[in-house]
């Protein structure tokens, strides 16, 4: 236990004193300031004259101002934080000859990787919490609304999901730093996988869905075809951690979202029945909707870490 603590403390102080961290934090703070400012201005205009708007506070996070909302921003660029914090975690130590020295101290070998992962996850947690607090404070000043209890709970859950999401990418980059000797190689491999999982999986989902269950829009497709196509698209895109996270965080932050599924509205009756449910979901119900997504997100983070753990334990310490 003591070994983990020593490595954790050292890694944490390394992170905080590194230029990398300062640049990353400055960048993210800047972007979140701008997006929340945009969202705030937008909200002020659009809520003009509305007597009793609900969940205004949460809208700060999910209203796309000029470009994107805060939630979308974290989904897109959150992975970069995780990757930057971990891509050289072990291969740098190996290259500098410090790894052998550390593991020849009376600690268990897994203390190295556990300490590094925990330190990275702590940095991530501090980043996410402070950004959410900054935006919340900004919102208080800009809009003059006080968040309700439910809004605060939703934000807390959002923060937890975000930490797991970014930690998944941290685990992934640590895995690459174990697998690849070259620091540049592991950085490149992490970025490549990030691009693949975040952008190409959704493209692939469309292609796959159209191949397996083609929908002929000219002829007028049957309901079954459209639904099947949408289901396949959704199933495939769930392989992307970004899709998992966007769905989960989007639903948690926006009480008006009732489902993570893409709506397929077929006729006037369905539209009518949908419009009957215009009230927001309660927190419990929102959680129920995204429960599978959250579990999947936590599971892939843990699986990723478990793989790094196993590979590292079995690897030769030299070479």
């Amino acid at each position: 236990m003591r070994g983990i603590l020593a490595i954790y403390e050292k890694e944490l102080s390394d992170h905080f004193s590194s230029n990398r961290f300062v640049i990353l934090f400055a960048l993210i703070a800047m972007v979140s300031f701008i997006t929340s400012y945009m969202a705030g201005m937008h909200l002020r205009e659009s809520l003009e004259g509305v007597t009793k708007p609900r969940f205004v506070f949460l809208m700060l996070f999910n209203t796309p101002g000029a470009l994107f909302s805060m939630v979308q921003f974290v989904a897109f660029f959150g992975p970069l934080i995780g990757l930057v914090l971990g891509f050289d975690a072990l291969n740098r130590e190996r290259a500098h000859g410090t790894l052998v020295k550390v593991v020849s101290q009376p600690i268990y070998r897994d203390a190295v990787i556990n300490g590094k992962f925990l330190a990275g996850a702590t940095v991530i947690a501090i980043m996410v919490v402070s950004i959410v607090l900054v935006i919340a404070g900004f919102g208080l000043a800009l809009l003059g609304v006080v968040p309700g209890v439910e809004e605060i709970w939703r934000l807390v859950i959002y923060v937890i999901i975000s930490i797991f999401y970014i930690s998944f990418w941290l685990g992934l980059s640590i895995l690459f730093s174990i697998l690849f000797r070259g620091i540049a190689t592991s950085a490149l491999a992490s970025v490549a996988l990030w691009i693949f999982l975040s952008f190409f999986v959704s493209l692939g989902a469309n292609v796959l869905a159209d191949t397996i269950a083609p929908v002929d829009r000219q002829k007028g497709a049957s309901a079954e075809e459209v639904i099947k196509n949408a289901r396949i698209k959704e199933a495939v895109s769930l392989f992307s951690p970004m899709a998992l996270y966007s769905n989960a965080s989007g639903t948690i932050i926006d009480p008006m979202r009732k489902t993570t599924r893409t709506f397929v509205l077929l006729g006037p009756i369905e539209q009518l029945s949908a419009s009957r449910f215009q009230n927001p979901l309660s927190l419990g119900q929102s959680l129920l909707v995204v429960y599978p997504h959250i579990v999947a997100l936590i599971a892939i983070s843990l699986i990723c870490f478990a793989i790094s753990y196993t590979v590292f334990m079995l690897q030769e310490i030299r070479m």
Binding site: T98, V100, K101, Q105
Partner: protein, 250 residues
């Protein structure tokens, strides 16, 4: 001398992809001696050291280090054995004191005690004057001495030194050898030193072992090896001559 055996191997073997890096190795080290570990590059010396520390799992055979099996009780072994790897690395942005504090933390030495010990080991290796300097600004000789300071922090009973004088200038190498000798004499630390510099090894070792292609081809005092190879005992043959003789035969 009827000293106690502190390290013993029993058919210790390590294979990488069916190539035997260490081939049924049998040797022992007695308490309080300096054992010179010789052999060409790639003979399996470093692999042997890693196995004795429990950092690499032997394919076959076993070893006993200070009464512990390094495979099952690696942390116990690592608590009493100090290992200075070949080309030891440091975190360049730390100074000597910070580097030693980290090692003390890893060894679970309480902060107050660590502070005292750090001053002590810096004095021992002669780095007290440059302890505030960043390690990246250290010369090679200073880095090696800092490496020794790091392993001394845990009060080791045994030191494994892998090429401690490699690429050092003559003066630094001489000071390193003297330091090792004094540690052995004054603190009764058993030393296993691997080196290519046969002159140095001859100067400080009580016994030597010659390892070639994963096998220990000879072990014993320099005099007894000379007797075995040349039929004459005494100090008339240098270690270099003995080594070359063994080397040519294999």
């Amino acid at each position: 001398m009827n000293a106690q055996v502190i390290i013993e191997t029993n058919d210790l073997t390590k294979a990488y992809d069916h190539i035997l890096a260490v081939d049924h190795l049998n040797f022992h080290i007695e308490e309080g001696e300096i054992f010179g570990f010789l052999g060409p590059n790639g003979a399996g010396k470093s692999t042997t050291l890693l196995m004795l520390l429990g950092l690499t799992r032997p394919t076959e055979g076993s070893a006993v280090v200070c009464g512990y099996d390094p495979v099952r009780m690696a942390t116990k072994v690592k608590r009493i054995v100090g290992y200075l790897p070949e080309n030891v690395g440091f975190y360049g942005d730390m100074n000597a004191v910070q580097a030693l504090e980290y090692i003390a933390d890893l060894n679970s030495i309480p902060r107050a005690e660590a502070k005292r010990k750090i001053a002590e080991v810096l004095e021992t290796v002669g780095l007290s004057d440059s302890k505030e300097k960043k390690v990246s600004a250290y010369s090679r000789g200073m880095r090696q001495r800092l490496g020794i300071a790091e392993v001394l922090l845990k009060d080791p009973k045994v030191l494994f030194l892998d090429e401690p004088t490699l690429a050092l200038d003559p003066d630094a190498a001489f000071r390193m050898i003297e330091l090792i000798r004094s540690l052995n004499r004054e603190r009764n630390i058993t030393v296993l030193i691997s080196s290519h510099n046969l002159y140095e090894v001859q100067k400080i070792s009580h016994r030597v072992g010659i390892m070639i292609s994963g096998k220990m081809v000879a072990q014993g005092s320099i005099e007894s090896l000379a007797k075995e190879k040349f039929g004459v005992g005494g100090k008339s043959y240098s270690l270099e001559e003995i080594y070359m003789k063994y080397f040519q035969e294999v």
